[in-house]
Symmetry: C2
Subunit: 470 residues, 2 copies
C-alpha cells in the first residue's frame, strides 16, 4: 500500500501519521513545496513577537520525528499534477520533474493568503516592507525585515485573529501599530459588543485602531518612512506614513492541483469533499484548508482552522487505507488571546443562526470566574445564543482576562453543542467547583440560566400553572 | 401556596429561590437552626487562611438579598418535628416552640461532621483546642482559638478535600501542620498515583504527612503544648504534641427530622429520595447533603457536594410547587486546589467501575497545557478510565499546576460523560485552540487518544484489514 500525502502541514501530516498508526506496513510519502514540514502556523505571531526563541521551535514535530514515525518526507517538492486514472503524482523537485505512483492520495495543499484589491499592493513585496503572513518563509522574510530595518511604525491591514495577534506581537517588539479594519468592529467573528471590548484592549496597549476603514492604496515613499498607506472611512480620507505594512485579511483555499485533476468546488471555492474526505476522484482524498468543512449546525461550509485540518487529515489517512471514518463536524470553535484578554466562540452567532433557519436569541450576562470572596476574581462576559423555537443551544461567545479559563469554558459549550443540548439543560451539567476556580453554578451555567430566565421562564411558569389546575 | 424550606444552606435556599422564581405569589419561608443563611461552606478554609477578609464575605447572598427575593428567613429556628398528615412544621425559635403550617415542605438539613472513634475525642472541644469544621459557628470557634492561642503546631486528622485545604490554610497562617490519614494515600478520592503527587506538594510546603496511620487517642496535655495525639501506623506507634487538633474526616447525613417523620433511608443512611426529590412522605421533598443522590453511572449513592445540593434544591423547589422537574444526576465531579496544584476528577475510578459491572481500564498520560514553544507551558497528567467492553468513557482524573485550566478541562470530560461518549469520540470534539492556551489536540484529547491506542487500536487495525479483504 503506497500512500502519498501532498502538503506538510496539519492535514497532510495527520493523514500520514494516522495511516502509519493503522498500518505500519504502509509506505507513506509526504511531499511538500517548502522545507518546513509540520510547522505550527498558529505560532507565527509568537515568534515574530520574540516570545518563541527560534523559529524551529514552532515545529509540532521535527523532520527526525517524522522519519522515526516511518514517513518518507520530501521537502522542496511541489505537486504539479495528478494522473487520477494512472494513480501517479507529478512533482517538481530539486532534482527535476518526476512521477510518483500511489495507491491512495491525500491532498492537503492548504490555503493562501488573500491579497485585497489595494492599488499598488501587488507591485510591493517584503523588500519594500510589505508582507503577507502565512508560511514560515513569509515569517522569516518579515523577521529579517524587522531586524534589518527596525521599523518604528507599522500598519496592519485586517483585525481578525491573526491581525490582532500580530498587533500584540509588533507592539511587544516596541513598534507603534496602526490597525485598519474594513468592517465596523475588530474581530468580526464575534458580536460587535465583544469586539468593542477587544478594541478597548488594543487601544489600552497603544494600538491605533481604525474600523469601517478600507485601505485603498499603498505606495513606496521617498520620505522618512518607506511606505504611505491611503484609506477611506466614515471620516473621509486618511493617510499613514509607516515603515512596514502587514496584510492579514484571511485566506482562500489552494485548490489548483485538485481542480486541475477534475475535483469540484463548493463554498468559497474550496474543493468539495464528503464527510469521509473523499473528493469524488477515485483514490483521492483531501483535507484541511483546501476543502469544504461539514459544520454541525450549518452543513457544508468553508472554515479553515488548524484543529479541523488535524481531524480531517486523520479521517482522510484512515479512509485512504480503506477505512470508514467520518469527520464528525466543526462548530467553528475558536479562541484568541489579545494582550491580557481572551475571547472565544463556538457554534453560531445570532445572524448566522437566523440565516440557517433558526429563531435565535442572544442573552449576554457577566459573572465572576470564581467566587468573589476568594482573591483575584475576574469578570467573564458570556453571550449565549439559543433557539427560541426549540430551546436548543446554538452558540456561545466569551470574553475575559487571561487566567479566567475562557478557552476551556468555551470547550464546555462546544461539547454541549456537539450533543445538541437545550439551553435549559446546561445548568444540569455536573461541573467542578472549588472557590478559587469556580462557583457552585459555574459562570458557564449562570449564563445559560440568564438566557432561560429571559426566553423560557414564562413557558415554565405556564407549564406549572397548567399542571396545578389539571 | 405556602412553602417552607428547612435549612439555610445550598439546598434550602436554592429550593426557596426557585419557588419564588416560578411563582412570585408563593409564600416562601426558610427556617434555619443557626444565624448564617446561604453561606459558602466550601469557602471556610480560605477564611481560616486569611485570604477572605471577613467571614460575612463567605455569604453567597446576604440576608437582605434573600428578603429582596421575597423569602421570609427565620434564623435561630430549629425544625424539631414534622406533622406530615397535618402539614405542619414544629420549630423551636428564640420566642419558643410553635407550629408552622405549610402546603409543601423542602427539607435540606444537610450533613454533620463525622467524629471518628478516637479515645478522648468526645471529651474535648474547641476550648481545649480540638475542632471539627462544618459550620460558620465551627469556623468562628476555630479562628477565635487561632487568634487567642496562636498555636505553632497543629494536627489535622484526615486528608480529603477539606483536610488538604485546611493544611494549606493553616500553613498560610504560619502554623506547622502534621496531617494524618488512615488510608494509604492522601486525597483518597483519586487514584494513589495522583494522590502521591498531592502528597509531594504538601511535603514541599512543609506539611508533615503520615498516611496509613490511624489516630487512636487525643489527650489534653499538661506539657508545653495543649494536646497529645497518639496513632498507630505501619511503623508502629506514633505521638505528636500539638497546640491544635482539627478533625475533618467527612460528613454523614443529618436525617433525624425526616426519619422521625417516617422517611426511609438508603446508602450511607441518607434519606431515600426519587429523582424528583420526593421523599415518599406526602407534601415533603428533600435535597442536598441529607439525601441520596442519583449518580449517572452508579445509580443510587450518597455524594454530598455543594454543586449537587444547589441542583437538587432547585428541583425540589419546583416540584414542591407542583412541577415535574427531575434531578439529572451527579458524576461526582470535584476539584481541589492544594497549594500550587489543582486536582480534579469526574465519573468513576477503575475500582468503582469494576464494582458497577463495567470492564474498566485506566491509561495515564501527560501533555502540556499549551504549545510548548509558547512560554510557561505546564504539564497536565490525565488518567482516562474507559470500558474495554464498549469503549465508553467512564471517568477522568487530572492533576496540574494552578493556571493549567484543570478545573474547566475536567468539565469537558463531565459534559462528555453526561452524553455517554465513547473514549474514541472525544478526539472528534471541536475544542478551542490558540498556542498560549492549548494545542490543536487539547491535552483532554491526547489523553483519550492514548487510551484508544492502548485499548482500541488493535480492534481498529483488525476492522481495517477486514474491510480491505472483503
Amino acid at each position: 500500500m503506497r500512500l502519498i500525502a501532498v502538503g506538510g502541514s496539519d492535514a497532510g501530516i495527520s493523514a500520514a501519521l494516522r495511516a502509519r498508526e493503522l498500518d505500519p506496513t504502509a509506505e507513506v510519502t509526504v511531499v511538500l513545496a517548502d522545507e518546513y514540514p509540520n510547522f505550527s502556523i498558529c505560532g507565527i505571531p509568537y515568534y515574530v513577537s520574540g516570545e518563541v526563541g527560534h523559529w524551529r521551535n514552532l515545529a509540532h514535530r521535527t523532520l527526525d520525528d517524522l522519519c522515526d514515525a516511518g514517513l518518507d518526507v520530501r521537502v522542496n517538492t511541489r505537486a504539479v499534477g495528478i494522473d487520477v486514472s494512472g494513480r501517479r503524482l507529478l512533482v517538481d523537485a530539486p532534482d527535476g520533474r518526476s512521477e510518483l505512483p500511489y495507491d491512495a492520495l491525500v491532498v492537503g495543499t492548504g490555503a493562501v493568503p488573500v491579497r485585497p484589491p489595494v492599488t499598488g499592493l501587488d507591485a510591493l513585496g517584503p523588500t519594500d516592507g510589505v508582507h503577507l503572513l502565512h508560511t514560515i518563509g513569509d515569517t522569516l522574510a518579515l523577521t529579517a525585515d524587522l531586524d534589518s530595518h527596525r521599523p518604528s511604525r507599522a500598519l496592519i491591514v485586517g483585525a481578525g485573529y491573526v491581525g490582532l495577534e500580530m498587533a500584540e506581537g509588533l507592539t511587544a517588539r516596541g513598534i507603534d501599530v496602526v490597525q485598519v479594519e474594513a468592517l465596523p468592529e475588530v474581530l468580526p467573528t464575534v458580536d460587535p459588543t465583544l469586539g468593542a471590548v477587544v478594541r478597548e484592549e488594543l487601544t489600552r496597549h497603544g494600538v491605533e485602531v481604525h474600523t469601517a476603514t478600507t485601505v485603498t492604496e499603498v505606495t513606496a515613499s521617498d520620505g522618512p518612512t518607506r511606505l504611505s498607506v491611503h484609506a477611506t472611512g466614515a471620516n473621509g480620507q486618511a493617510r499613514w506614513d509607516v515603515d512596514l505594512v502587514l496584510v492579514v485579511v484571511g485566506v482562500r483555499p489552494d485548490t489548483e492541483l485538485l481542480v486541475a485533476a477534475g475535483a469540484t468546488t463548493g463554498p468559497r471555492g474550496a474543493v468539495s469533499v464528503e464527510r469521509d474526505m473523499s473528493t469524488g476522484l477515485p483514490g483521492v482524498w483531501a483535507a484541511g484548508d483546501c476543502v469544504t468543512t461539514h459544520h454541525r449546525l450549518l452543513g457544508l461550509t468553508y472554515l479553515p482552522l488548524g484543529t479541523t485540518a488535524h481531524k480531517q487529515g486523520r479521517v482522510a489517512g484512515e479512509n485512504a487505507l480503506g477505512g470508514s471514518a467520518v469527520y464528525p463536524g466543526s462548530l467553528g470553535t475558536q479562541v484568541v488571546k489579545v494582550f491580557d484578554l481572551v475571547i472565544a466562540r463556538t457554534g453560531l452567532r445570532d445572524s448566522e443562526a437566523a440565516e440557517a433557519g433558526f429563531a435565535p436569541a442572544t442573552v449576554q450576562s457577566t459573572g465572576d470566574d470564581h467566587k468573589a470572596y476568594y482573591p483575584g476574581a475576574k469578570p467573564v462576559t458570556i453571550r449565549v445564543i439559543g433557539d427560541t423555537a426549540t430551546g436548543r443551544l446554538l452558540g456561545a461567545q466569551l470574553v475575559g482576562t487571561l487566567g479566567a479559563e475562557i478557552a476551556k469554558r468555551v470547550d464546555v459549550y462546544a461539547t454541549a453543542l456537539t450533543h445538541e443540548m437545550r439551553v435549559a439543560d446546561v445548568d444540569g451539567l455536573d461541573l467542578s467547583y472549588t472557590p478559587p476556580l469556580g462557583s457552585p453554578w459555574d459562570v458557564v451555567q449562570t449564563a445559560t440560566m440568564a438566557w432561560v430566565r429571559e426566553h423560557d421562564l414564562d413557558r415554565q411558569r405556564a407549564a406549572l400553572t397548567s399542571r396545578r389546575t389539571e
